[in-house]
């Protein structure tokens, strides 16, 4: 039997149905979501974790990049049921304003962002790249970021940032 209730924000929750449970930045999260809801919408619209952005919605721009079990992926191409029981890491799990990660620091120092809308995705991609390839060649940096579009910086500042971060992590 379906039970519905409205929360303080007026959002309707149907209890017992379609609860998607996963680990978001180390914390358990349960969301009422249709199994076919996109993960990006679940994060942004339901959990209000808006660090993950939406831009193309078709897997072309990387603005929505997250990690699922440590694997870089586009959350606009992922459905809720695909993260059931998994570890999801978003930009909110990387660093905080008070404690930026080395990669985030490098983006700040090297002009790796302007409008900042591609930046969470870029940072997720960079962190993933440097974890896998701590001392990347120019070619490997370009491969690692080739799924992410930035319209503002022209990428020069981003490349400087990735190199600076790699040097500091070395």
């Amino acid at each position: 039997m379906e039970q519905t209730r409205k929360d303080a924000r007026g959002i309707e929750h149907r209890q017992g149905v379609n609860v998607c449970t996963f680990y978001l930045n180390g914390m358990q999260a349960s969301v009422n979501a249709s199994p076919l809801a996109r993960v990006v919408d679940m994060l942004r619209d339901q959990l209000h974790e808006t660090g993950t952005k939406i831009s193309c919605g078709i897997g072309r721009c990387g603005a929505c990049s997250i990690w699922v079990n440590g694997q870089l992926t586009s959350s606009c191409l992922l459905l809720a049921y695909q993260v059931e029981g998994k570890e999801v890491t978003t930009i909110e799990g990387i660093g905080t304003e008070e404690r930026c990660s080395i990669v985030q620091e490098a983006f700040i120092n090297e002009g790796g962002f302007q409008c900042g809308y591609c930046t969470p995705g870029m940072i997720m991609a960079t962190e993933a790249l440097l974890k896998q390839t701590p001392d990347p060649s120019d070619e490997e940096i370009r491969d690692g970021l080739s799924g992410n579009i930035c319209r503002c910086t022209g990428y020069s500042g981003i490349i400087r940032a990735v190199k600076a971060a790699a040097a500091r992590l070395a």
Partner: protein
Amino acid sequence: MKQPEYQRRPDAEPKVTGSLKYLTDRFEDHMLIGKVMRSKHPHARIKNIDTSAAEAIPGVYAVLTHKDVPGLNRFGIVMPDQPVFCEDRVRYTGDAVAAAAAESAEAAEKALAAVVVEYEPLPVLDSVEKALSPGAEQLHEMGNILHEAFYTRGDLQQGFADCTCIVEETYQLPRQMHGYMETEGGVVVPGQDGGISVYMATQHGFKDRFQLSRILDTPEEKIRIISSPIGGSFGGKDELNLQPYGALLALKTGRPVQVHNTRKESVRAGLKRHPMAITMRTGADESGRVLAHETTIYADTGAYATLGPAILEFAVEHASGLYPIPNIKTTGVSVFTNNGVAGEFRGFGGNQVTFALEGQMDRLAEKLGMEGGQLRFINMRKPSDAGPLGQEIAPTDGGKMVLDDVAAWQQLPLSNTGEPPWLKNGRGGAVSMHGGGLGYGRLDPSGGRLALTKEGKLEAAFGFEECGQGIVAVIETVMKEAFSCNDEDIEITIGDTSKVPVSGSTTASRGTGMIWTAVENMKALFSRQLLTEASRVTGTAAADLYLGAGGIHKSGTESSLFLSYKALAEYVQAGDIETHTSFDFPVTPDEIDSGHYLYSFGGVSAEVEVNLLTGAVRVLDLKQSVSAGPVVYPQGYRGQIEGGGIMALGYTLMEDAVMEEGRYQTENFDTYLMPGVKDLPDNVTVKPREEVMEGDTYGPRGVGEIGTIAVAPAIAEAIYQAIGARPKKLPVSREWILHQIQQRGLLPWNKPEKMLGG
């Protein structure tokens, strides 16, 4: 102005950690989702609109059409000609016909799918030629010509008669998409008093407020526009987009309404750069002095005006660029069609004409047997020369400075070694001149406010928007320079019409210069106010006090803090220490409409590698020299030129939002290709030329646009140097390159004569 390269932008940490709330990230209690229904046809009459089925759908709170617009059912910055909702006719597939607000996006979409619109399709005018052909359907009461602009001087006929060498070409420029990563949208919150707060990106909050007031028939004071931060704009969010729909739905339902375009919706409804066809005829005498220059510009402005007239005038003004040619005739026509609306976009018509003009210079130089640089030096403007419309301008040697750099860069050796044989390299250079501000005869006010807040911060308030360019870093840098204070002493107030003074639009490369000027105007008085109050409070003579980090310092003592701003704030009332300034963007004293006074200059050198097998062009090296006065914030300056350069690389080699029969053939980034990291040249260099003429008091010029202007002609010339064919149509396609390669027999096994011989 010396600032460490690594000074952090005030918005740095929130941006890199994802904690920054963009306006499309906002969430309000009881928020509904709004969706807009766009026309099914590029051109049709509307016979009937029936919303009854839509209204009956569960979860739907409002379905609106033209009948629900209380005020003027039109918008448009210059002339309001675009319907908020179409009444009886649609003119492009982005035209709005209805909008719905519902509990979910799905319900809103379902509602719109249930709106029944009876259309009677009309002939589609999908090109300038069709729109201008005799007997063509008239798209507007004024006809199919939005605007014509002319400029002439000298005696063109005589000029050409004196030439020994004349070149003529027609250049085709594409429909570039802004491609800001954040699509249009935000939230509109209705207030108790019938007013609204509009949280949506724009490049000029007060202009949105004015336009919305007209549409909603609500006084401007009841409308608050919160418009920063913005996830990229490049001109594309200057005009109204979703604001009217969000506002009408919020007022109708009494609930906050979120509207946020999907990329597909954004492509369909949003502005693009004007496609233009530009014919130029240019002649010189045998010494290389250009004597005559004739230009005809046809711009496809799409269905509605927005800033189309101003963009055309800008293109006409810049048709002769940095060369004071004695005999000129320039004609521009901006034509309504059933294509997507073209409008404001970084460079504002300058990109198109500069591609043509610099193309002419290279063609002419070759015919004269000269280097392109040499021809440009012969014709380069002198510091005291008039502007391109013959108007007085602020003296500048910027053109010569950037050309010096480009000429030197042209001498660099090519980076390839001749191996493998199917890769051919070439280098090209080009220069440009770009007017800042809106131009003579247009309202172009600016201003700012400084105040000591009750929390003890030095508040700098400007009506500018942060769209990524780093205006907040400019404000911080200028403030620190003026008051020797710390980052923490400063509070920046922008992007909220309820809090900011009139500063004018965040467009036309004007923000940085206007902030610098405003603080210059206010700093003496504001310092005096602070020191006088500090003197009153402490009983120390004002002459012994000075401003420094954290507050007031006392001379003769160790430079430790004497009275902090926080302490000072406790002794004064809000508003006690406050200074305003308002002024106009500097314009030419000559009464020449749209003529600019302050210009910036850009010089570009590009090396390309052309793959003869695939037709692929890779830019290996992109160097830009920029003359735009002193640098305020080095990281931002560099970022504008680097980013602008890559955006222009896309314009040159890949970007075109193709339309067929009035319909976009692209709807997202899978078919509209913008440069990715792999397209980034191996080397990108930015060289600021900060020197200004003696006595120049105008400070920094702003570099938002200049880095996008001369890139295309430089790359085109580099392609010519590599394969001997001159591009005249952008983007330069691989097919075109392969065709040229084949025609010229550049591949050893594919000589044309062999092909002919079978």
